[in-house]
Amino acid sequence: MMLSSPWRADFPALANLAHQGLVYLDSAATAQKPQPLLDALQHYYAQGVANVHRAQHRLGNRTTQAFEQVREQVAHWLQAPVDSEIIFTRGTTEAINLLAYGLEAQIQPGDELVISALEHHANLLPWQQLALRRGARLVVLPLDASGQLDLVAAQSLIGPRTRTLAISQLSNVLGNWLPLKPLIQQAQAQGAWVVVDGAQGIVHQPPNLKQLGCDFYVFSSHKVYGPDGLGVLYGRRAALAQLQPWQFGGEMLDHTDYYRAQFRPAPLGFEAGTPPIASVLGFAATLNYLYQIDQAAWIAHEQRLHSNLLTGLQQRSGIRILGQPQAALVSFTHESVHPSDLAQLISEQGVAIRTGSHCAQPLMQHLGINGALRVSLGLYNDQQDLERFFQALDQALELLV
């Protein structure tokens, strides 16, 4: 029996894409949106908008209240401990930049900022640039031959000079889960702050932050079926207290005269300017939608699809799979065909997959490749999508090999 997705009909874009003959297998870049999110945006804009944290009028209060409730909802979803805060940002990238600037004053020359070799540029560049600004050293945890993080080597590289460890939950290129627990414990034992980039991981396995124990956790709403322009920075209160504000303006302060200001603590002290209100309210609708999905069925569906994707690729000659993907996506190259040729001919056939260096140029250099193709899955994908992809791949290879 063909593997179908019981949730596909909840995403109106899927039917519209199908009408245009398009298959969407690029959800790791950004995900399609469920109907309840569209309804929530429509509702908010149609019922009357208001700014948050400013106005005294009833509409302002109502919006502010709804907005603040979403923080609690997100905290609940992340199983965040009580002594923590949820800060809204414009995305994962902004959240990590906030951290790198917020911690800047704490970083001394010779301090070590640790990342892994597979980080997305969003979790590399802010630390690389911070290291350059402060004369600190960027330490890169290596991968083993199979593309997994080399835990033994990693543990020898986290030491007394380590001030930060910034690491992904799930790789956007290799599709593997990182061994967060031992790394977090070791880094924290050295007094370092630990930042987890959950941009990919949260889409397939929302974390239990009580258990995980990291200091900061960041993700983007748009990859987890929510609206654009919204990211989340979770932080333990004690860790947030170490951060300096990095953007200034609006309501992020307690008091200012012309020459001096006193800033608010998190979250508001890190949310200068009008936040993406509609996106925050819309994200609540996405979360409500995701909540009513049977988690076990969801995970099982994605795992079956992922396994079929992997098997199908393995069966084709000349295909080289990057690393040992465990979830969500598979990246691959072909031994004799340039990735951009393959990508172009697959795209000509109406199948949307990603090609290039996937915002991980150093990882591509490490793997000795000039790019790769990536197929990534969402909960709305089904076996037919995979069949369309395989057909397109076979036809493209027939022309190119």
Binding site: H338, S340, D341, A343, Q344, L345, E348, Q349, T355, G356, S357, N370, G371, Q395, L399, L400
Partner: protein
């Protein structure tokens, strides 16, 4: 400008591409054109000649002789080599004045390949066109 003369090979490309409609035939054709690309010396595949702004590696060299530009180009990717061949048959051998007036977008439009310019910054054709325009504006 319609008055700009069409080189013989460009004329040939045009009639070939106007003949085929399916993506498959057109891709085969593009791959065939990739084979027509003038051999690009391997020592010229260096950083100085590299066209930046595209993920796929592309190289371009340009020489001007008696008011006529001659370009050579290559890439790691075959379809892009095909596109480069189609670009070069259109622009090589025409006068600098003609070249300055040429609407390259329109050329690919006529070939039915306009989406190749706009679609993706990966494929590099756009970056090559921009580099050529810049070279022509630079004082020689």
């Amino acid at each position: 400008m319609t008055s700009v003369s069409l080189p013989a090979q460009a004329q040939q490309a045009l009639s070939e591409f106007q003949q085929y409609k399916s993506w498959e035939q057109r891709s085969r054709l593009l791959l065939r054109w990739a084979e027509h690309l003038e051999p690009f010396p391997s020592e010229a595949q260096c950083e100085t000649n590299r066209v930046l702004g595209c993920e796929t590696k592309v190289w371009l060299t340009a020489h001007q002789c008696k008011g006529v530009w001659h370009f050579q180009a290559s890439s790691e990717a075959r379809l892009l080599r095909g596109l480069l061949a189609l670009l070069l048959v259109r622009i090589n051998g025409i006068s600098a004045t003609e070249l300055a007036q040429l609407d390259v977008q329109d050329w690919f439009q006529q070939l039915g390949l306009a989406h190749q310019i706009s679609s993706s910054r990966n494929n590099g054709l756009n970056a090559v066109i921009q580099r050529i325009q810049k070279l022509m504006q630079a004082p020689v």
